[in-house]
Amino acid sequence: MNMHKIMSGSFFILAMTVNFGFFYGEPTVLEQHSSYELFAAIIVNLIATVLKLGDRTQLGAVLLATSIVADIQLIASATVWAFALYVINDINIEAATAIVSLSGGALLANIVSVILFVGDTIKSKR
């Protein structure tokens, strides 16, 4: 057991749970999705990515890859939101669905990441 393992492990899982919190709700109704939750999801995901940097193992590389996918999805989701709000000046159903489903994609990447992480933990002898 070491501090770094606890930190990174908790952030991997937190990235998934917070993301789920934002994703949960009617996809067409943006009022059911809190922008604070999206912000938290982005930050936690970025931190999880950084924690995976520099791991030379094969698993480390795959974890980093899934994490980067989640980041891209979430940042895209936030960008769509800002674009719809300020440039189009109207958050219609299409935009709302895009925002939520992009975070849904990120959630899938998070789930893959957590499965790999748990699998590795089970595989290790101690």
Binding site: S35, Y36, L38, F39, I43, L46, I47, V50, L51, L53, G54, R56, A78, W81, A82, L85, Y86
Partner: protein, 550 residues
Amino acid sequence: MNEQIVWIVLKRLRTPFLVIIITFAISILGLVLIQGTDNNGQPYQMTFFDAFYFVTYMASTIGFGEAPYTFNYEQRMWVSFAIYFTVIGWFYGIGAIVSLIQDEALKKALNRNSFRNHVRNINKPFYIILGYNGITKSIIDRLNGKDYRLVVLDKDDEKIDELILENFYPNVPGFVGDATNQKMLKIAGIHQKNCVGIISLFEDDMVNSKIATISKLLNKKIDIIVKATSKAQLEHFRSMNLKHVKNPFDIISKRIYYGITAPYIWLLEMWMYGHILKLKKRDQFPRGKYIIYGKGRMGRAIQEGLQKAGIEYVIEDFDSQRYIKEKNTTIFGDDDDIKRLLKLGVKESACIIAATQNDLLNLTILNKAKQLNPNIFTMARENSLDDLNIFQASKINKIYIVEKILADATYSYIARPLADLFIQEARKKDDEWAKVIVHMLNNITGMNPMYFETKLNDANAYALTLRLQKGENITLADLRRSRANRNEMLHVVFLLLKREDEIYLMPDARMNLKIDDELLIVSDEENYDDFEYIVNNIYELEYVLGYRDL
């Protein structure tokens, strides 16, 4: 960029990235939560985008002003906290990246990469030299860029710095690395097709042996030129099938043997290493009793040479380190020492050899002996090249510098294979034969001729190979005609001809030449230039052969 470097960089960037993300996140969140006032005095809430935009230019100290509306005091209080918070985080991040660039581990990885690339880009055949010191430097000086390129590995980074400061042209790539580590040898290009050999001349026989074994396993095809100073080691290398074992003490032993028994063979050998082709009186080894001071590897090698030559000698077991410790001086010659010298018979002896490991002791031993017997012939071992001037000034008849002998032998093996071969063949002959050769060379080419090695192929003898390809018979005598007047002779002597595995010492002038014959030619620069013209230029060759007139 190499994989490894990417990982080092990423790992180091973890903390700076974390710091930047967290400081940004907290500042952004604060701005979003605090209620602002718009231009009409109405309360409003900053969105995440507004906050992100503002924090981004605030943290990087660009500072476009307060947006979207002028801030109220609550916001300003938060922002003044956030400025310190994010700016410090941001600067820490930049600082970490800058220090990463200067990081030793990263630098090393980058250096290794560039070294590897340098080695990969060498397109000539090259040797790997292990250890950079006086010996290998003099090898590099003479060998670099002619037909070969060189690569250096040394454990000590100061040595590699020295190498870089030398500014060899073409560049000699060097890298800090343990030569006994096979990974380093691989990086130095031992697997490369154009790697012809590895030169390992370390003091320590064990290291040499280890390197020879590893290199042999890594690449069977390369030449391993290795130093061995003991009999057992020599046997070991022979059993490993290494042909090119250099033992400087063995060379000295042989030189002394030939110097005494066959001075002209000795002269031919020394001439190959830059001596003039004339036996001076002070060069001649005297006959009579020899005294050897020092019973180390050098002393024993000399002993062996003298024994073979059938010369009477005494060997004094003289340990320089013990002497310095006991007498607390490096000046030889108190009363005890003089008594000892007299007892060894310095007055009746013909020659004294100082072969200890201390240069100053060697000098003073010879000085004392000279005082006691002014006619005595003196020989000294010189251990470090730095003391060369003192030795030259002190009128010693012969100086043996182990480092230089080793460097010469290695160089001549690599760059002058025919000269090396010639010496070996000459040693099988007797002194009368050598005397005839020396006189003949003196008559034709003068007192200080040079020697050249050439291979009769397309690149070196274009015109000649054209004619030989047509099946024409051309003899050595044909090539010895002057291109100014074909009835006169060029001042060249063909000492040796090598055809595949056959060696012809002093080849017959009527001998027909074949393509790819290798020739050892003695001449001066002017005549050799003429020779090169003749074999390369179609018209010159036709004139010399008598097919056309001037």
